[in-house]
């Protein structure tokens, strides 16, 4: 892949916690406007990759570049400011703030003015379909709405790359369908996406490219249907399920 086009670039990234290697010599690129799926059995190190990308962990070895600039050692808010936003696997809304206020916190990333932040937040809320819930405290939202809120807060920061960590987990098929539609609309706005997901049908349908992580190592990468036929991938999943 042409490096000039790649938005995000990981070179041989390793993360060790004490004696445990969570991610091992992992390389990955995400191009501008691309949708990449990151899959793998539980404990494969997917969420650790997100923590590394968003600045919550520092890699033990390797380089991470976003828009050509290293983000190793940068704090989460600095990375967010550069245009890389994320959601959390376990949703983390500010429970005592209203839906609108939650999203405003993200919107302040691009403005110091409260009125402008409010306007941007309202726009994003409409976009994700939470417009009617804007004055409800986040603790009163359903899981499905909380997942949308999580995405809205990320979107409000005006990212170029959005990391989604299992935004479909725990949702019913109708809700999943709606989230897939939302992700497509986010993509249509020119935002690149890196998605961790266990809902296979969804990730296969959405992703242009899929990367498979197993025991912290990349075991396969390619077009969704190729990856689905890969012997090592099948073994990893079947092995993990027994």
């Amino acid at each position: 892949m042409d490096t000039r086009l790649s938005l995000l670039q990981l070179d041989s990234v390793t993360k060790r916690f004490g004696g445990l290697t969570a991610v091992s010599r992992f390389s990955l690129t995400v191009g501008a406007g691309e949708i990449v799926g990151l899959i793998g059995p539980n404990g494969a190190g997917k969420t650790t990759v997100f923590h590394l990308l968003s600045g919550f962990h520092a890699p033990t070895e390797g380089a991470i570049r976003f828009k050509g600039v290293s983000v190793v050692g940068a704090k989460p808010h600095q990375i967010c400011r550069r245009g890389l936003a994320r959601t959390f696997q376990i949703v983390q809304p500010f429970v005592n703030l209203t839906t609108l206020e939650n999203v405003m916190v993200g919107a302040f990333n691009r403005t110091d003015d409260a009125a402008a932040a409010r306007e941007r937040a309202l726009e994003v809320l409409e976009f994700v379909g939470l417009g009617a819930r804007r004055d409800v405290p986040a603790r009163a939202l359903t899981l499905s709405d909380r997942k949308r809120l999580e995405m809205a807060r990320g979107l409000a920061t005006r990212p170029e790359l959005l990391l989604l960590d299992e935004v479909m987990a725990g949702l019913n098929p109708t809700e999943i369908e709606a989230i897939i539609g939302l992700i497509r609309r986010i993509h249509a706005q020119g935002v690149a996406l890196l998605i961790i997901e266990h809902v296979m049908q969804a990730i296969m349908a959405l992703s242009q490219r899929i990367v498979v992580l197993h025991h912290g190592e990349k075991i396969a990468e390619g077009r969704p249907d190729d990856v689905a036929r890969d012997a090592r991938v099948i073994e990893a999943y079947l092995g993990a399920r027994t």
């Binding site: 808010h77 936003a85 983390q92 916190v105």
Partner: protein
């Protein structure tokens, strides 16, 4: 609308009634305003940012000692000394805050460190001859002069502290609607999520720290000028730190009016109990203890929580 009319009436009463009040009530009102003011200052860091300082006495003491020492030794007017104390306190707050936040101290650990910082200053003050050791400092009674922050009666002091309390409430109101305010609330709710949403947690907390300690120090100067006497235990002791947070917690932490409402409830309670049981020190603080336990058990969002559910500390923290 009803609430605004009520607030307007209360403000009118606070502005106009005092000249006609007997001195005893005026004294109580001054206490109410001072504690409400200290509560509001604490509230910025404790209520909004959720960083529970147990050591705001440090800033109070710095304010009281700075202005008094400048006045006694160099003849600098306490009005200027007040600002100097505020700046010094903010600097100390930034130092203590940077150390604590930089090394990731959260929750109770932060509380303990702030307590330790205040106690260290107290010990230093007790052992430093130049600031009067444990005997403290007296501002000798001299000619009343507005320039020197010395007034003839209690009334001018009342209007000074009223203005300070109103200013603190106004600042809180402004804060609540600003980027800083939203950022602090987000940090209080969930610091990691706030960071991920682009909030510079360290920077924002330090701003709250500086503002809170600056304002607290101004209260220290007021105290010194009003009572004309300060000593290490009064100014740096744990009771000052507790006073500030008590008003905010009882009234409602993280609300604009909470600290002032808290002061209006707590101060009369303590005055009445002191009047009821004379000659026995400690009754008022004992009642504070009871009130604190009761409020946390039954009104975890403070008195303001009776009105609405927003902007209050989480009863159930996430994870």
């Amino acid at each position: 609308m009803g609430a605004e009319v009520l607030l307007g009436l209360a403000l009118g009463a606070l502005l106009l009634a005092p000249p006609f009040l007997p001195p005893y009530f005026l004294e109580i009102l001054i206490s109410v305003m001072l504690f409400g003011y200290l509560g509001a200052a604490w509230n910025i860091l404790g209520g909004y940012a959720g960083q529970f300082s147990f050591g705001h006495a440090a800033y109070f003491g710095i304010g009281a000692y700075t202005s008094t020492l400048l006045f006694l030794n160099l003849g600098v007017t306490p009005w200027l000394g007040m600002l100097a104390g505020g700046v010094l306190a903010a600097a100390f707050g930034l130092f203590a805050g940077y150390l604590s936040f930089r090394y990731g101290l959260r929750g109770p650990y932060f509380s303990l460190v702030t307590l330790a910082f205040a106690e260290m200053l107290r010990v230093v003050a007790v052992n430093t001859k130049a600031v009067g050791s444990s005997l403290g400092l007296v501002i000798p009674n001299r000619e009343p002069a507005a320039v020197n922050f010395i007034f003839a009666g209690k009334l001018p002091y009342y209007y000074v502290i009223l203005a300070m309390a109103l200013a603190a409430v106004w600042i809180t109101r402004r804060l609540e609607r600003s980027k800083l305010g939203y950022s602090l609330l987000a940090i209080r709710e969930n610091e990691d999520a706030a960071e991920a949403a682009g909030v510079d947690a360290l920077g924002m907390k330090l701003r709250a720290m500086a503002l809170s300690s600056f304002l607290t120090a101004l209260g220290g100067t007021f105290y010194a000028q009003y009572f004309a006497y300060i000593d290490p235990t009064i100014t740096f002791g744990p009771s000052v730190s507790i006073q500030g947070l008590l008003q905010a917690i009882v009234g409602g932490a993280g609300t604009v009016l909470g600290p002032v409402v808290g002061a209006f409830v707590l101060t009369p309670v303590s005055e009445l109990s002191r009047a009821a049981i004379r000659g026995r020190a400690g009754v008022d603080v004992m009642l504070y203890g009871v009130v604190l336990v009761l409020v946390i058990s039954f009104l975890p969002h403070g008195l303001m929580g009776l009105r609405r559910g927003r902007g209050n500390p989480p009863r159930v923290p996430l994870q």
